[in-house]
């Protein structure tokens, strides 16, 4: 807990986010960590190794996040994922459309950043369309539809929407006890499934990609929820999470931060704008991926193939921007950071992202046969 000047903590928070994201970008590039690729390998060739990498990251993140919470280092209920408002239609529609978008756009938000770092100019276009669509969904035209239609379908739960809170409410025992039990059971089951595969165990990059990604998310919780936590901001006399765009405890997510990066560039002379946790994380992934690509001489410029390829990537970025904001996160934001809090909405979003991506790949294959 900090009682220091929030302004002085901001560079620490942004710097910590950048460093962690840098590691994620470099390791993601090396290990080919890709959540869309995980779905593609499964749907198109029957390989679950990269899906296991994603599940390993989730398991590590669950154990780390729960451990930090139970040790009193962070309070996961201060994140955006554990609110009692269960906006189920937003998770379903947003998750599905994000899955469609990441398939059309050659990867999710994090993969887009990794590709930008390797010289893929298509991903630069995806980044811009994703960022603009995300901003329009936060505060613009798409936002009116999100709030006026999708978020109307809400169930207000008696407690937070995380499984430990729900189990404690309906079955007794404390939330902390249920968190310890459920984190152990869910993460244990995931780890058992992941390492039951001989082909997964045979390639060290699978373990490296999964463990590092999971640890980066845990580190993100620590940076935002502990280093950047101020019990009483002297300016507002309220608690604060320094240098966050949401005002809540954050870990890694790659939709809204892309919008805020564009906003920061467009409002450069506005001195109230600072490099936040999210902006630093987006820049960090690009830098880490670029550093790895340059060090291994794999950096190469890539462009669009034709008009259809361009249109699909523009549409993909737009759908990811809308879907990611609507569902409160992407394959990393909801798929790992949110999942690590055992929030029901994160699990639902994860399922519908995979479903949207798989359905799009089936459609793409069908189109080839016409």
């Amino acid at each position: 807990m900090n009682e220091a000047n929030p302004g002085a903590l901001a560079p620490l928070v942004a710097g910590g986010a950048f460093l962690l994201a840098f590691i994620f970008g470099a390791v993601g590039n090396r290990t080919n960590f890709c959540t869309m690729g995980a779905v593609s390998d499964w749907v198109n060739m029957g390989s679950l190794d990269r899906m296991r990498m994603w599940l390993l990251a989730i398991a590590v993140a669950i154990l780390g996040a729960s451990g930090l919470h139970l040790a009193g280092v962070v309070d996961l209920s201060k994140s955006i994922y554990q609110t009692p408002n269960f906006t189920w239609l937003s998770y379903v529609v947003g998750g599905f459309l994000f899955g469609v978008g990441m398939t059309l756009g050659s990867g999710c938000g994090s993969k887009t950043l990794i590709r930008v770092g390797t010289g893929n100019l298509k991903s630069v276009v995806v980044y811009i369309f994703l960022g603009i669509a995300a901003y329009m969904t936060l505060r613009g035209l798409f936002g009116a539809f999100r709030v006026g239609v999708l978020e109307k379908a809400t169930v207000t739960l008696p407690a937070g929407q995380d499984l430990p809170s729900l189990f404690a409410t309906y079955l007794g025992l404390s939330r902390a006890v249920w968190m310890a039990i459920l984190a152990s059971v869910v993460a244990g089951a995931l780890l058992g499934y992941v390492y039951a595969s001989k082909s997964f165990r045979a390639n060290f990059d699978h373990t490296l990609g999964g463990v590092v990604t999971g640890l980066v998310v845990v580190g993100g919780w620590y940076v935002s929820g502990h280093v950047g936590y101020v019990a009483e901001d002297p300016n507002t006399l309220q608690e604060a999470f320094v240098a966050t765009n949401t005002g809540r405890m954050e870990s890694f997510s790659f939709v809204a931060p892309l919008a805020f990066t564009l906003e920061y560039l467009m409002f450069w002379t506005d001195k109230s704008k600072i490099i936040t946790y999210g902006i630093a994380s987006a820049l960090g992934v690009i830098a880490g991926s670029a550093a790895y690509a340059l060090a291994t001489r794999t950096f190469r410029w890539e462009g669009f193939r034709d008009a259809e390829d361009t249109a699909m990537h523009m549409l993909g970025g737009t759908l990811m921007g809308f879907g990611g904001i609507t569902a409160l996160g992407c394959t990393i934001g909801q798929g790992i950071s949110g999942f690590s809090t055992l929030a029901l909405g994160s699990i639902l979003t994860f399922v519908f992202i995979v479903a949207g991506s798989a359905a799009t790949m089936k459609w793409q294959y069908w189109r080839l046969g016409r």
Partner: protein, 75 residues
């Protein structure tokens, strides 16, 4: 190397090179060879995994002038 069919996957990123390869192989006879030209940096790992999983043998792969060339034998 002799081949029976060529697939141009240049400028395409995952999952399209794999999807187009899968479709091309379904239209070929067992033992025929498909030549694939791709530019996606991730294509080498993708085609190695595709070969391992589907049993279509990856006869060779090479990189030149920022392009990857694969020869895959239909199982």
């Amino acid at each position: 190397m002799d081949f029976d069919k060529e697939l141009d996957a240049r400028g395409l990123n995952c999952p399209l090179p794999i999807l187009r390869t899968k479709k091309a192989l379904t239209d070929m006879q067992s033992g025929q060879v498909l030549k694939i030209v791709a530019t996606d940096p991730g294509s080498l790992k993708d085609f190695q995994a595709f070969s391992r999983q589907t049993g279509n043998e990856l006869l060779s792969h090479a990189e030149a002038n920022r392009e990857f060339v694969f020869f895959m034998k239909r199982k």
